[in-house]
């Protein structure tokens, strides 16, 4: 058996490695699922709220129903609803768990209340509220004199790019909607830009089937990659008369996100996860599969074979890095597949390998330092202790120790000063875990240091500087260890 294969096999089949790979892949999959469900950042569909309003008029009373839902069409409860007339608020309430709020207003004239929303009280700010039809009187979509039907464009659940129609019906005496024939038309962008959309005709549209018997419902148009450059109209027709009941104006249903944005979101998500797991895997793998063997004397039975000690070191190092590479490749690929629905596209292999490469630099740095410690100390406790301290200081407490304590408290630097940004970038460069921040800043062009964001190049983050830092962390700790293994016991 080739010795490198044995080292790789031993590292990959070790209980610790298997556990870490399972955890990394598992948490990545869970995180990707959560990301696609909740989005990333405040302006994502799950943090965007809509309120549609409908009413019917019966015996001198307006029965007003509001329906609040998020950007995925999911009902939102406890949304504050305010009704006002002539800018005077006169009814306040909140949506129930199904997203509805019901109110009545006694009036025989045509002046009916307006509806306004406030920010949700318990949500983290800022929350983007998209008002529905603020003035019922003028904007209400009507089926007939006493009913209304709203059509709102929302994101398909778990997707940042695919959209669908959300239907909200209010009928007399809380009746559900009648049967409606749904048709859609796909247009080239230029034609759909017409202010009047000319093809709202069943014969010129594609059937989506019938819908009916609902208060709220959703309609999805089958979307393929070919739909990226098209806009769509939706028409709902009376199934008996064929008369148009309501329609939605031309809108893009599949808006591709730029790869840069996608990568930025995915990288931010993975950085949080791998910033924790990758150093742990690097530190403990290099300890378990080299440091411990060396300090316990197990490596001596290998060292008497026709091989140099530096070759053994290199083989173990490569095995550790390869096992992390495999863990990263699997987990990022899984995340990529899970996030395809969310982003509407897969990240190309080159982008995945780029991310893997960045985290491999981090793992090589941590592994290299642990190997170096193994070379300098014969005590297992020392080697393991140094690894744990490295993780705690560089990975967990770096921001607190360096930014909060050292820069702001001891040196009294302003969190907003430009020099803080530059110093923070330098500190990231001397921290093996900080490489992800530098690489990410290089890609996005923005670096956050202290409480401010700076242009990456303004704080010295350039392709050259990041490459040098990466190369140093990738090579230097291991190279020193390699040299020592040739000259020290």
């Amino acid at each position: 058996m080739s010795p490198i294969l044995y080292d790789l096999r031993r590292t990959l089949t070790g209980k610790f490695t298997i556990l870490l790979i399972v955890m990394i892949v598992g948490f990545t999959a869970l995180g990707a699922h959560a990301l696609s469900s909740n989005g990333s950042g405040n302006a994502t569909p799950s943090n965007t709220y809509h309120t549609d309003v409908g009413y019917y008029h019966s015996n001198g009373t307006y029965h007003i129903v509001t329906y609040t839902f998020d950007g995925y069409g999911t009902p939102v409860k406890d949304a504050p609803i305010t009704l006002s007339l002539n800018q005077t608020k006169f009814i306040n309430g909140t949506s129930n768990s199904a997203g509805f709020y019901n109110a009545t207003y006694v009036s025989n004239n045509s002046k009916i209340p307006a509806v306004a929303n406030a920010y949700l009280p318990n949500a983290s700010s800022p929350i983007s509220i998209i008002p529905g039809f603020a003035f019922l009187q003028t904007n209400m979509s009507r089926i007939n004199a006493t009913t209304s039907l709203q059509i709102t464009l929302v994101n398909q659940p778990g997707s940042l790019v695919y959209k669908m129609y959300n239907l909200f019906y209010v009928g007399p005496n809380d009746s559900k909607s009648p049967q409606l024939a749904a048709y859609y038309g796909a247009y080239n962008t230029s034609r759909a830009a017409f202010s009047a959309y000319p093809y709202l005709n069943e014969s010129k549209m594609t059937s989506l089937g019938t819908v009916g018997g609902f208060y709220t419902s959703s309609l999805k148009i089958p979307l393929t990659n070919a739909n990226q450059n098209k806009t769509f109209t939706l028409g709902l027709f009376n199934t008996t008369t064929g008369k148009l009941v309501n329609s939605h104006p031309p809108a893009a249903l599949y808006t591709k996100i730029s790869q840069t944005n996608q990568l930025t979101i995915v990288f931010a998500f993975l950085s949080g996860l791998y910033g924790f797991f990758v150093p742990i895997m690097a530190i403990f793998s290099s300890y378990l599969y080299y440091g411990k063997d060396r300090t316990s004397g197990v490596l001596e039975s290998v060292a008497t074979r026709p091989v140099t000690k530096s070759r053994i070191l290199a083989s173990r190092f490569v095995a550790v890095i390869l096992s992390i590479f495999i863990a990263l490749l699997i987990s990022i690929s899984v995340a990529n597949i899970l996030l395809e629905q969310y982003f509407g596209q897969l990240l190309p292999l080159s982008e995945i390998l780029g991310m893997v490469g960045i985290f491999l630099v981090v793992s090589a740095a941590f592994a290299g330092i642990v190997l170096l410690t193994s070379q300098l100390s014969r005590a297992q406790g020392t080697v393991l202790g140094v690894g744990i301290v490295l993780f705690i200081v560089f990975d967990l407490l770096w921001s607190f120790l360096i930014l909060d304590l050292l820069l702001f408290d001891v040196f009294r630097l302003s969190p907003f000063s430009p020099s803080t940004g530059r110093i923070t970038a330098i500190l990231d460069a001397i921290n093996p875990a900080g490489f992800t921040s530098l690489a990410s800043s290089l890609y996005t062009g923005t670096f956050t240091g202290g409480f401010n964001s700076y242009s990456a190049s303004a704080v010295g983050i350039t392709l050259v500087s990041v490459s040098i830092v990466g190369a140093i962390w990738l090579i230097v700790p291991f190279a020193i260890t390699y040299y020592l293994s040739r000259t020290r016991d």
């Binding site: 058996m1 010795p3 004397g297 197990v298 039975s301 008497t304 074979r305 091989v307 020290r488």
Partner: protein
């Protein structure tokens, strides 16, 4: 053949050398015993010769290859068996031996066949599916010997390998080493069990506080050190002891007496015998010999009378 020239090792600053300027040859077809007290430098010498640690000075050549500068070539002909073999505890023996075999370029079925043969030879084939952490110390030692033989090296270094073995194990190790010698291998055997060294070694090197102080040839062993007279006096009493005290220092054990520090030449020993007989003592045994390796060794290393 292993050639050791001017070998020195200092483990840390301000520390005395663990070994100092050792010169030694272990020839093909020879068993060289290596004797010394604890901490004398035996293991250090062997660990340097195996390439486990680096020398501070001097060099070790294995069949002409420097163990430091030409480690891979030199190690191809080194088989090392330590006192307490230490392997990956969770490793399966066959797989670990395959890993070791890979360093010698032995792969595939060739490796499998060789491993089976060696494990059977050392009676551990039945335990092939056990993890090494479940092996007894004796089994680990046998596994270690099998591992040492993987590349069919020309030189073997046994570091206190006989320690902890039962009499049967010692006997089979003795036969194994003699077989190696017969096969033209060079064997470097460090041991505290001097009688075993006497039994198998062609030469015995004695090391004291890191310095090589004596190399004995096998034919020197019977006449080592100062001469003594060994007697057996059937009617031994104080009078006989008083007579003997005129000629040296008698050590009495029952009817047996060893007369040391002789005040006469060994060729004149009959004077003692004559006087005893004249005084009506019945002398049933009277012989002149050396002290024996153990006494000689303790004399040399300055530990006579207890360590």
């Amino acid at each position: 053949m292993i050639e050791i020239r001017g070998l020195s090792k200092i483990y840390g600053r301000n520390q005395v050398p663990a070994i100092n300027n050792i010169d030694l040859d272990i020839n093909d077809g020879e068993i060289l015993g290596f004797a010394g007290l604890n901490g004398a430098g035996k293991t250090t010498t062997i660990r340097i010769a195996c390439g486990i640690i680096f020398p501070t000075g001097g060099k070790v050549s294995v069949d002409g290859h420097d163990i430091v500068k030409n480690k891979v070539s030199a190690s191809k002909n080194i088989g090392w068996v330590p006192e307490l073999p230490n392997f990956e505890p969770n490793a399966k023996p066959v797989l670990l031996l395959k890993y070791y075999a890979g360093f010698y370029g032995i792969k595939g079925t060739e490796a499998e066949d060789l491993i089976e043969k060696l494990m059977k030879q050392f009676n551990i084939w039945d335990a092939r599916n056990k993890k090494l952490k479940n092996y007894s110390q004796g089994m680990k030692k046998r596994f270690s010997i099998a591992a040492a033989m993987l590349g069919d090296p020309k030189n073997y270094l046994f570091d206190e390998t006989l320690n902890g073995l039962d009499p049967e194990g010692v006997k089979s190790m003795r036969n194994f080493m003699l077989q190696l010698k017969k096969d033209g291998k060079s064997v470097f055997l460090s041991s505290h069990i001097l009688t075993e060294l006497e039994n198998v070694a062609d030469r015995i090197a004695i090391i004291k506080r890191g310095e090589l102080i004596k190399i004995l040839d096998r034919d020197e062993l019977p006449n080592l050190g100062k001469s003594v007279v060994k007697l057996k006096i059937e009617n031994l009493d104080g009078g006989a002891v008083a007579i003997l005290q005129k000629y040296g220092t008698p050590e009495v054990t029952g009817k047996d007496v060893v007369l040391r520090d002789l005040a006469f030449k060994p060729s004149e020993a009959h004077i003692v015998n004559n006087e005893l007989i004249k005084s009506n003592y019945e002398v049933s045994k009277f012989e002149i010999s050396g002290e024996g390796l153990e006494e000689y060794f303790l004399d040399l290393v300055g530990q006579k009378g207890g360590i």
